[in-house]
Every structure is written in structure tokens, then in C-alpha cells.
């Protein structure tokens, strides 16, 4: 597509510091009004939430026995609740929980 000489080619994404496991420059947890809550009894590890989450906030834990939720980056879009095949996920109002506080100094 582009005729870039070999000696001038750079790897994709080299312009910004590439995030390793997370991107602390764009914390989106404070966008959330409602959060997904998982009932581990009903979960059959179908991985729909892991596949559909736009911010990769659902991940398998180390032992690969359950999916865990990342409160720091979940913006509460609730795609996972819609896609859950076993209705293990439900939405709950954020002020019902003392945890998940992402108190930033500035919006951006």
C-alpha cells in the first residue's frame, strides 16, 4: 500500500507509549453510573463478556476458574449484561457499593 523504505519503517504504535496491561492515561471508571454484577454460581465461562467488553474489563483470573471485573476501566456500558448467555450478570446502581471509587482530580 505504502512504499516506505526498509530503513525508515517503524513498528506500529511506536508513537505513543504502548500500554502493557493497562493504559493509565485514559482511566474511564468514573464514567460509570451502573455496574455489572456477576453471580459466579450461574456463570458457565462462556466468555461472552470477555469477548464483547470494549475495554477488556472482563478477564479470566489466574487459575482460569472465573472471570474477574476491572472497576478502574469499566465505563458501565452494560454490553456484558446484554450478552451474558446464562443471565449471570445483572446491573446495579453504583452508589450501592462502597468500592470501585476512581476519584480523579481532572476529567482528562
Amino acid at each position: 500500500m505504502f512504499d516506505i523504505p526498509k530503513d525508515r519503517a517503524v513498528p506500529f504504535g511506536c508513537v505513543t507509549p504502548a500500554p502493557d496491561t493497562e493504559q493509565p492515561m485514559m482511566i474511564t471508571g468514573n464514567w460509570r453510573e451502573y455496574r455489572p454484577v456477576i453471580d459466579q454460581e450461574k456463570c458457565n465461562l462462556c466468555m461472552n463478556c470477555v469477548a464483547f467488553c470494549p475495554d477488556a474489563c472482563w478477564q479470566l483470573d489466574g487459575a482460569e476458574e472465573e472471570v474477574v471485573w476491572n472497576a478502574k476501566y469499566c465505563k458501565g456500558c452494560l454490553v456484558c449484561v446484554n450478552e451474558c448467555s446464562t443471565e449471570a450478570l445483572s446491573k446495579a446502581y453504583e452508589l450501592d457499593f462502597p468500592d470501585g471509587v476512581v476519584r480523579l482530580e481532572k476529567p482528562f
Partner: protein, 202 residues
Amino acid sequence: MAYVHEITVWTRGVVKDKEGRDVANGIAAAADREGKFTQAFDNYVDLPDRVNVPVRKYARISDVEIEMRYEYENEKPEVVVLVDATLVKGMNVLRGLRKDGVLVVNTDRSPDEILEFVPDPGALKAVACVDAKKICGTSTVDFSGSEGGVDAVGLGAGLAAPILGAFAKATGLVKLESLAEVVRNKEALLQGHRSAVVKALR
């Protein structure tokens, strides 16, 4: 420089953006009718907003001409208004709050439940809670992209009306009568003024 009352309104982008702007504009328009000098504007840094992003709107009231025209942010607000209550978990909304400041929250919870999420309420004089959603249902949305320049819905047709009523009750910076002259949904304004729960902290 003469004392300027600074009011910061926190809201959520797009979905409650117009409500936050209506609160700031309503405060300024009502104070203007009382012969005060006023300013009301959006935070430039927060725009363009996206859905649910925390955004700020500002209002300023003064008895004499406001000379801080080229300062774009209220660094030391006297009143902080939260159009969405979950912002207490997401932002340090009381940053720079002046002593004896007031927090006005749109929520169905009590002031004590909101104070659990406020890490340092030392500067607060009072917390006011009003359930605007219960009073007037859903929020109004303005997609014109003109930041209120051409707004056919009108000022205070949605959630902003009860919040303005609670603001008048908790702070007394503007009179309810002058708010009633500028707000479209006057019934919701009066009901918000009536049903607002104000908890004095000192």
C-alpha cells in the same frame, strides 16, 4: 477584586449535558434579574463531550462587575452542583472548595449516604439532596451541537428545574421568584424547592 460567587456544575456528557448547562444558565439568568453581574459558560477543556464523561459548567455571580473574564475555570467554587450523584465516586468534586461551601446533589439518597463518598467534607457547610428524576421524569437532551445557542426545548424543562429549586433553598444566592421567571417547568422548580433535603454540617 470584589468577591465573586463561583458555582461549578458537574454533569455527564451528552445524556445530561443540557441539564447541567441549564442549571448554570438558570442561576446566572435569575441573578441577572436581581441586578447582579453574572457569567455562565461551559468548561472548554471538557468539550467535545462524549456519553457519560464528567463535564463541568460554570456560573459566577457578583455585586460589581466581574473582572475575571479570561479565567476559564472556577478554581475556588463556593457551590458545587452534581447533576448525577455517581460523580462523587468518580471525581474529586470538592477540589478547591471555599470554606462554608455547599454541595447540591441530584439523588434519591439521603445526604448522609452521599457524605460517605466525600473524603474530606471539612469545608462543607451544607449538603442538599433532591430527587429530580422522581419529580420530573427523564432528562432533556439537546443534540443541536450549538452548546445552547439555538435551543428550542427551553431552559429548565427537565431535571434542571428541581435542582435549581434545591440550589435556591440550600444557598440563597438567588431568589426562588427570579428563578421562576426564567425556568420553563415552574411546578418542578417549586416541588424541588419544597422536597429538597438540606443537611447543615455546622
